[in-house]
Symmetry: C2
Subunit: 343 residues, 2 copies
């Protein structure tokens, strides 16, 4: 014998419904899938039993039997507290829910090992696909071979050493645009505040900052470049130091919202007007009263595109030849707030 059930969760099974309706389990199954080959009276009796017992079909058992997929999409982000990622998650939700799928959400806190664990865990739950904002630079655990061809889409960062779809932001172009604005406003000493040097996004934005200078026949002063700033406080300190030093920059470029916030605090504390440019718009940016040149983009759209790409992959699995991997880039746009600088 093989009993050994532990929970016996109290939820009725299909056989409970069958017994209640005086039919076989098979008939219940047919009614639930709206199979036409069931008589009206039987159908009504089964439906009544379902309502009486509050029966819900067990989706896990169903997908096990059918083998066609669990209806679950794994989403792995680095930090849900950052509005950027929560918007991304919302975008994914939107597209995925419209297809009747559900999102299994995980937060890595930026730890690559944790990401590895989570991805492994999600595949153990047989998700139909994965959307990942990679925490580290090693992506081997996301390789199609490792995941047994579970479709994967990366968001924000391109794949490294593996061949999968991804959705990126125009980091380089956006940084270039923002910096060019500052230059055309007449600024010639533009500081740079960036976070982790290992981050792809930050590196691209730094490249854009540098390229804008070169395109204008200029070169940034290396002493005005501060990278590896871990949080708002670090950015604030770095900004204060830059702005208080000799040949202080007249403007600062910030790679993301945390850097911008630090810079805004520093400028506010200083009481002297300094032009700021940086990635990520935020509510009330127009009320701050500082000359801001914001590089903005639609975070929801990243999630939506990633979800659509993933659904495409899921739909076309086993359909003839394997499709080449795709890459899409979400555009940025520059928004200006506050008093016109350079006057």
């Amino acid at each position: 014998m093989a009993r050994g059930r532990a929970g016996d969760s109290g939820a009725p099974t299909m056989r409970d419904v069958a017994a209640h309706a005086g039919v076989s389990a098979m008939t219940v199954s047919r009614v639930l899938k709206a199979d036409p080959g069931v008589s009206r009276s039987t159908r009504d009796r089964v439906t009544a039993a379902v309502d009486a017992l509050g029966y819900r079909r067990n989706e896990n058992a169903r997908s096990l039997r059918l083998g066609g997929g669990t209806g679950l999409i794994g989403l792995v982000v680095t930090n849900l507290a950052n509005p950027f990622y929560s918007r991304l998650a919302l975008g994914v939700q939107e597209i995925v829910a419209a297809r009747g799928l559900r999102v299994l959400l995980s937060n890595t806190g930026g730890h690559a090992e944790r990401e590895h664990e989570l991805v492994t865990d999600l595949t153990a739950h047989r998700v139909d696909g994965l959307i990942v904002v990679p925490a580290g630079s090693g992506h081997r655990h996301l390789a199609p071979a490792v995941l047994h061809d579970t479709p994967v889409v990366l968001a924000s960062r391109p794949p490294a050493g593996i061949d999968v779809d991804c959705v990126l932001v125009d980091d380089f172009g956006g940084a270039e645009d923002g910096t060019r604005q500052l230059l055309s406003d007449g600024h010639r000493r533009i500081g740079f505040l960036g976070d982790s040097q290992a981050d792809y996004t930050g590196a691209e934005r730094f490249r854009g900052y540098w390229a804008a200078h070169e395109a204008a026949g200029l070169q940034p002063d290396e002493r005005h470049v501060r990278r590896g700033l871990a949080d708002v406080a670090a950015a604030q300190r770095a900004a204060l130091a830059l702005l208080s030093g000799p040949d202080a920059p007249t403007a600062l470029f910030c790679t993301n919202n945390r850097m911008s916030h630090g810079a805004i605090r520093a400028v506010h504390a200083l009481g002297r007007p300094v032009a700021l440019s940086g990635f990520d718009d935020f509510e009330l940016s127009d009320v701050i009263g500082l000359p801001l040149t914001i590089v903005s983009y639609d975070a929801d759209e990243i999630g939506r595109r990633a979800a659509r790409m993933l659904l495409d992959r899921i739909d076309s699995r086993g359909t003839g030849e394997p499709q080449p991997s795709r890459r899409t880039v979400v555009p940025t746009r520059v928004i200006r707030y506050g008093p016109p600088p350079g006057t």
Copy 2:
């Protein structure tokens, strides 16, 4: 015969591993659960086969067989784009992940029917528990009887007509504290900006606003009360109207971050200093340059407490007598920013 497999997802099964290692599936199962009763050499052979095939145990099949729970927690929020809810989700994640459970996240967009669907759907996936921020005032679909005793914890709003655990914010006390501050600063005409009249949270905060006046022997001017403001723009318009009218209030109380943002915009546009008090702190509130009296609380903590309560319930299921439902209230604190008002 009963074939009919659809996907055949390509993922190896336990029997594939067994065949590869030249043992039975049972032995593989034992190795995977670290059962001591397996010889060293067999264990090594199985481990090698697992690695070679990249095998991952199918958690769905496992939980079906064990019957003890799926390791999934359902989380249903109204709007993930609101930082409040994303922090809450993060708090839930934190506690739940530490126990090796995963979060199935859903967004209702504030629609009660959608919530109903989602809850039904989550139970069909046999989640071990549910944390819900209710969208509507009807909670019958969350009743223990309907959910077959799947544990439920409500967040932000108390249960209506059902008996389940909940985590609340001290809406009344917080609003009272914030309003009292404005009163003790000397304000005697304090406007009120609130959203949906049907919302529990908003109603409690309105009560607090009113009670603070009564405690001071005063009564708010009804003409200065604006409720049912759907978004930031509506709040901004209402604030402008109030502040431009006759006997304009010298201060405004705002029930949440959207109301506050609208008010800040209005005051900013007006160019005249108006004291503001409202719920929900935000980044850069200290840089706005307005006299702000913020009622703040820890949104992560709501998620953490809800998750802990839920885990408690899950742990104590079937353990003797049913526990009475619990309720916990997260405290608020008042933070003051900007120039001291009333001078």
